[in-house]
């Protein structure tokens, strides 16, 4: 703990990153109770209102919906999906990558080729195709699809860190003690790979926010009326000359969160990996 504080002191940028993440978490949890508008209410008197007009802190869109309310409610869905995605893809990635790397041989080759094929398709296209077929996107389907798109990357990273640890002598020591494969993989090796794996998971967190926002932008993300940051950008694009804030604020929201998480991820990698 003390060590983390010491590192924080040397990396002031990380404090900014963490502050922004905390800000968005508070918004997602308590934001809805702090504002007086709902995300669907249309203020027909004040369409495309400028920020501050008639109590709309960030203004309204072309239908007169409060932008702040939509951004705050939008943060809930995007954070939920991103968090679940990074946990889920890391979990599946570790299990797959560890098994392939540990047993090696044919299983490993098959695994690598399968991952190559998945990786050859851009994740965004892959997700779009699956979502397009399913038609109906919600939090659950978005999570599963984005996770599938991310598994190859996390699995490869997990396989890589397992391979470096596998050659360590403590693994040999466990083998000649007659330990089972599962024990060696998850009790002996896993605790020593948490650093890179956590770093990968936080990086995935940032990527999945980008991905969910992009899917929203392309119209295959969360379905209206649920607000979605990416969708907000595209649906307000026609009014960009009259009400630029309607595009600017959701875009800023996406950018701030993604950058903050990237900074945080860098910091985590410094603390966890360089500690040894």
């Amino acid at each position: 703990m003390k060590y983390i504080l010491y590192q924080l002191k040397n990396h002031p940028l990380a404090i900014v990153g963490i502050a922004i993440i905390v800000f968005w978490l508070i918004m997602a949890f308590f934001g809805p109770s702090m504002i007086s508008f709902t995300y669907t209410a249309m203020d027909s008197e004040h369409q495309m209102a400028a920020p501050g007009e008639n109590g709309h802190l960030l203004g309204t869109d072309s239908l007169g919906r409060d932008l702040l309310a939509r951004i705050i409610f939008g943060s809930r869905s995007i954070l939920t999906v991103a968090l679940l995605t990074s946990i889920f893809s890391t979990f599946v990635g570790v299990v797959l990558g560890f098994s392939a790397g540990y047993f090696g041989g044919k299983a490993d080759s098959v695994f690598l080729r399968a991952m190559d094929i998945l990786m050859a398709i851009p994740p965004l296209v892959l997700s779009m195709v699956i979502l397009g077929i399913l038609g109906d996107s919600n939090i659950a389907s978005l999570t599963i699809i984005v996770s599938i798109a991310f598994v190859p990357a996390t699995a490869r990273v997990s396989r890589g860190v397992l391979l470096t640890e596998k050659s360590q002598e403590y693994v040999s020591a466990a083998r000649i003690r007659g330990e089972s494969h599962l024990y060696i993989m998850f009790v002996e090796i896993l605790p020593n790979t948490t650093g890179p794996i956590i770093v990968e998971a936080t990086a995935r967190f940032a990527y999945s926010i980008m991905m969910v926002a992009s899917l929203g932008f392309l119209g295959v993300g969360m379905q209206p009326p649920t607000p979605d940051w990416g969708m907000m950008v595209i649906e307000n694009k026609p009014i960009i000359s009259q009400a630029p804030w309607a595009v600017l604020f959701p875009a800023l929201a996406i950018a701030s969160l993604v950058i903050a998480i990237s900074i945080f991820s860098d910091f985590v990698s410094k603390v966890l990996i360089h500690e040894r």
């Binding site: 360590q168 002598e169 040999s172 020591a173 007659g178």
Partner: protein
């Protein structure tokens, strides 16, 4: 101007870290004359490398340096980075410990050496290549043109290091800094390199700064010796004075804890230095050695300081010649406290190995072990010695079950155990334990000491009761001189010696009958090595386990073993009882090995037998005597063509050679 090439004055180097400011080099002053060589010795963590890096101005960004480093009268600490370029690599060159990581594996050797000349001396590509070939010729590398075209991984470690030295000599520097250049190499290679360094020093009129933890090596190359402890110089002076008449208690302790030729376990216990080198805070003063010193008294702190002992001989101790404590140097040997061990049964066989082969790889084959037969008697210690790549570790790993033999049988008692770990019974796994070379890597960094030791007991000795197990673990920790406080610690909180003790405790916790020790002390400092060897020896007397002790260090093998097996290129060269092997008649390889071991006693200098050529290519199926290509006693064509017959001297002593006794 005097003719000192390097003058270091009151040098302080401090590092700012998370744990606060600590001092790595503290008030160090030394001078080095032209064409003089200085040896810097001390255990790891004593600031030797930091000292040499600060001469190159090559320190991490969290370091702060005070004092003066004068190269030919100019203070290097005042230079800007750009000005330093003129010195670094050009006037002052450095050779690092690990040649493999100092050379870029993606570029040819010639290209890397050419760069030096082109960058520092502005030579054209053609001229640079000429300089490169010159430098390689200087190092006596046969076929320099061919070597220049190769990549680093295509030559052996010893040649890589010679290339690194050639690279450092390219600009004909005045000052060459060598940071443990031979530590990673075999003794035979080390002997060759040390000789050429010495020769080149005079030929090129260079000054040398040679850093090593090995007294024997320093004895060979240095004229002046500086002993460092915890960032400070504790003793300095001409080599002969230091080795013949060491004054500082640390120097004495260091000399005494090396197992030297002739020291054997029945007669002596090795001297050790209790404790370990501690990091010092920036403001701590006084004698750094005080908590490990056996001669300290109340006046130590107040009277601390450098004083002159003789001409050019200084030591930082007031009690250097104290008479109220017995002089350990004169009574070098502490008799072993235990009663002599009962002799073991020479006819019983605990482990019997027959025609053991190991071939790695399927398409590109590597012949690691090529048919060896030996047996281990219960309660005895067999020492396996040889250069790296001779198959000694592979043999140990096959016995302990990490690898399955390609051919041949391993019999343990009545059971055939020529199978890998996953097929062995719990009993066998329990009975044969393995201690690894690097304790830091053989203990899981995420587990506590209690988990590490307890797991083996739970898994193999069926001790399921946690409380009972914990009590047993504490008992064992006490046996290896660690206490109950260590239960909750994790390996990275322990020093190297402590880690190896935990590894030993883990092996012993389930009372095995055979412990395979794979170079258990080669990653440790000499003082720690001594205490680990003492411990292994005591424990062997107590537990009656047999050891198969693998090491490249003949002194260590000689100290601990009852039997010695000399291996070369996957074959046994010589086998016999310790005294039989250590005395003539020798196998020519044993003779060469023995001659290459650096001697600590300056009066007993000897000429090493230079082994020319390289180890036989392990990818080719061996034919004839594997040693023939390097042998200095080759008798004729028969050596290349026919595998030598076994020559027996006694029931237990034999070697494989065409030379008849």
């Amino acid at each position: 101007m005097n003719d000192n090439i390097l003058e270091i004055e009151n040098l302080h180097v401090r590092f700012k870290t998370f744990d606060g400011l600590f001092s790595a080099v503290n008030n160090v002053s030394l001078t080095l004359g032209t064409n003089e060589s200085i040896g810097i010795i001390g255990e790891s963590g004593c600031g030797k490398s930091t000292l040499s890096f600060s001469v190159m101005r090559y320190l991490a960004s969290n370091a702060s340096v005070e004092g003066a480093i004068r190269y030919k009268g100019e203070n290097l600490l005042d230079k800007t980075e750009n000005q330093m370029e003129k010195y670094r690599g050009n006037r002052i060159a450095m050779v690092f410990q690990n040649p493999y990581s100092s050379l870029n594996p993606a570029l040819t050797i010639g290209f890397q050496l050419d760069e030096v000349g082109m960058h520092h001396q502005g030579l054209s590509k053609k001229k640079a290549r000429e300089a490169t070939i010159d430098a390689l010729t200087l190092m006596n590398l046969g076929d320099p043109k061919g070597i220049a075209r190769r990549y680093p991984h295509q030559v052996s470690g010893g040649i890589q290091q010679r290339i690194c030295i050639a690279m450092s000599l390219l600009c004909r520097p005045d000052l060459l800094i060598l940071d443990e250049p031979t530590t990673a190499l075999d003794v035979t290679t080390e002997a060759v390199i040390l000789d050429s360094i010495k020769e080149l020093k005079d030929k090129l009129n260079m000054s040398l700064m040679y850093i090593s933890h090995d007294m024997g090596v320093i004895n060979k190359v240095a004229e002046q010796v500086v002993v460092m402890y915890s960032g400070e110089i504790v003793e300095r002076g001409p080599k002969n004075l230091i080795f013949e008449n060491p004054t500082h208690p640390y120097t004495r302790a260091l000399i005494n804890c090396m197992p030297r030729g002739g020291v054997v376990k029945e007669k002596t216990k090795l001297n050790t230095i209790p404790g370990y080198v501690k990091r010092r805070g920036a403001n701590e003063g006084g004698c750094p050695f005080i908590d490990r010193c056996d001669k300290r008294n109340d006046t130590c702190e107040s009277k601390y300081g450098m004083r002159q002992i003789g001409e050019k001989h200084f030591a930082a101790c007031d009690r250097a010649y104290a008479t109220d404590v017995p002089d350990k140097l004169k009574e070098k040997l502490i008799p072993k406290s235990r009663e002599a061990e009962q002799p073991f049964d020479e006819n019983a066989e605990l482990l019997k190995v027959e025609g053991l082969h190991k071939i790695y790889g399927t398409r590109r084959k590597v012949y690691a072990v090529n048919g060896i037969d030996f047996s281990v008697h219960p309660r005895s210690v067999i020492g396996v010695v040889g250069e790296s790549g001779c198959g000694k570790s592979t043999t140990g790993h096959m016995v302990s079950g990490l690898y399955k033999p390609t051919k041949g049988r391993i019999l343990f008692g009545d059971t055939d155990i020529s199978i890998a770990w996953n097929k062995r019974s719990k009993e066998t796994l329990k009975d044969i334990q393995l201690i690894f070379q690097n304790p830091g890597r053989s203990l899981n960094p995420s587990h506590t000491v209690e988990q590490i030791i307890g797991r083996a007991m739970k898994k193999l000795a069926n001790m399921t009761d946690a409380a009972e197990r914990r009590q047993k673990i504490i008992d064992i920790l006490n046996k290896v001189d660690l206490g109950k406080d260590y239960l909750e610690k994790k390996p990275r909180q322990l020093s190297g010696g402590e880690q190896q003790r935990v590894a030993i405790a883990r092996a012993l916790s389930i009372s095995p009958n055979l412990i395979v020790c794979d170079e258990p002390t080669s990653a440790l400092d000499v003082s720690v090595q001594a205490s680990v060897l003492n411990l292994l020896n005591d424990l062997q007397v107590d537990t009656h386990a047999a050891y198969m002790f693998i090491s490249h260090d003949l002194n260590v093998i000689n100290y601990l073993s009852d039997y010695i097996m000399v291996m070369y290129a996957g074959k046994i060269a010589e086998y016999g009882k310790r005294d039989e092997v250590m005395e003539p008649p020798y196998h020519p390889y044993t003779e060469a090995l023995l001659s290459a071991v650096p001697e600590v006693d300056p009066t007993k200098q000897k000429e090493p037998i230079e082994l020319l050529g390289q180890l036989p290519d392990p990818a080719k199926k061996p034919k004839g005597c594997p040693f023939a290509g390097r042998c200095h006693r080759q008798v004729g064509e028969i050596c290349e063509k026919e595998y030598p017959p076994m020559v027996r001297f006694s029931d237990s002593h034999y070697y494989f050679c065409h030379i008849k006794p």
